[in-house]
Symmetry: C2
Subunit: 256 residues, 2 copies
Amino acid sequence: MGTTTPIVDTETRQRLLNVAAELFAEQGFNNVTVREICQVAGANVAAVNYHFRDKLGLYREVVEMVADALNRAKVEVIEAAEPLPPEERLRAYIRLTLHGMLDPKEESWMDKLMAREMMDPTPALDLIIEKGIKPTGERMGRMVAELLGTSPDDPRVMPCFLSVQGQCLFYHMSKPVAARMGPPGFHYTPEMIDGIAHHIAEFSLAGIRALAAQEPPADAVPPCLKRKPDGEAGSPPRHSGRNRLKQKIAGEGEVS
Amino acid sequence: MGTTTPIVDTETRQRLLNVAAELFAEQGFNNVTVREICQVAGANVAAVNYHFRDKLGLYREVVEMVADALNRAKVEVIEAAEPLPPEERLRAYIRLTLHGMLDPKEESWMDKLMAREMMDPTPALDLIIEKGIKPTGERMGRMVAELLGTSPDDPRVMPCFLSVQGQCLFYHMSKPVAARMGPPGFHYTPEMIDGIAHHIAEFSLAGIRALAAQEPPADAVPPCLKRKPDGEAGSPPRHSGRNRLKQKIAGEGEVS
DNA sequence: GGACGATTTATACAGGTGTTTGAATCATTT
DNA sequence: AAATGATTCAAACACCTGTATAAATCGTCC
């Protein structure tokens, strides 16, 4: 009777979103069960289907939520570093990205979701590209272009962006391995993360400077990786033939 | 009867290993079903349990098989490039790695398995570390050390290795995204892969040279990533507390 | 106070999962 | 030819998965 609202203080819907964000980012869409999400969120099994129609519907809303959060954080950092030289802006950007992926206090789920979506695409990949990869790519493209002293359309820009992003992501991916190879209770401290960020920044700045010095070899860049000339995507490019997903995820014709 | 052996020319066991290697590398341990493997291999559902006791047993043998294959290939390339300067050896190494991950003709499954194991560790992670990550790390550690003009124990070596490996891996991971953003029938041609390898090599060589020029900041490297002083692992380091695996994979106390 | 829509709940369903089982088949040896 | 051990097979098991359903509960407005 007069019990003080046992577990609930937030709306169920929001609790589901928060819990699902963490679980999806940490374990991937396929490796998280609806039951697990609901149990952690203190909700009934049917809650997901009631509030989001699908497991995939929940996933989509999670993506939109964490994408907005991350983009807000990135814009904030970039604007704060606006007056600084581009080198310093790149350093700040790398530090932010790395802390979001390695520091358990930061809890930036979007980068982890993007990494997982790259390895095992779900029907939400297009959404991830639109909300996460494209904005990040454009931001970093401008920065790299400035460092190269060229325009964002220069074919050398995209590979440099990928090199920086790849280094950051790899440190996130190696976390389980580092945990196995390090002492038993290992975890990254903020100081260690700063050290790694420093390494990546200096390593990358040197690489970018070297590429800035030389003329770009004509076709070193796959044309597909160059910015497409379209202004804004009306409809995303349709799936390339076969969908490499199992039926587990498929089963949806089109979205409303 | 003189029938010409309908589908079978290799032993079932070997066919299962080959099929499983490709499927596990392409889709990950959890996203491949025993039924799928057996169907593609033209074997009965019970074949996996008969020949390998477990799905995990099959996975373990796959790992050992593809690890040997990759290590053979790497040793071969390294020895062929032995007389060349270390810069050229690094270029050859990057080219080999990248082709193995991006060229569908090459079919080097080990790197893909390693990548998946980093994102979603299975009980075979220790095996992967021992057979794949450690040998690769040592080989590249020696190369990077030579380029830095220092010893493999220098704290600057490991981050450089991770930077190079991270760039290579990221191009593999971005494949689905590149396919979505490029033209419909997109795939990497050997020439494009060579171009990417060239970029990574020049980018990384510049980064390494920059780090070679300056004194290393004392504690830029997490101590866990430095080579452990033990000579040879008698028994691999025991699991660090909780196993972050679902029951799906767990359910095994110890191995015989 | 009663009615009504929104939410939560317990339960069930259909399909997929890894694994087991006992009989059938094959190859080889005696 | 008979026997024996290894391999294959179809069927079934127990469990987990996402989803659906219908009743129960809650909050709110007439």
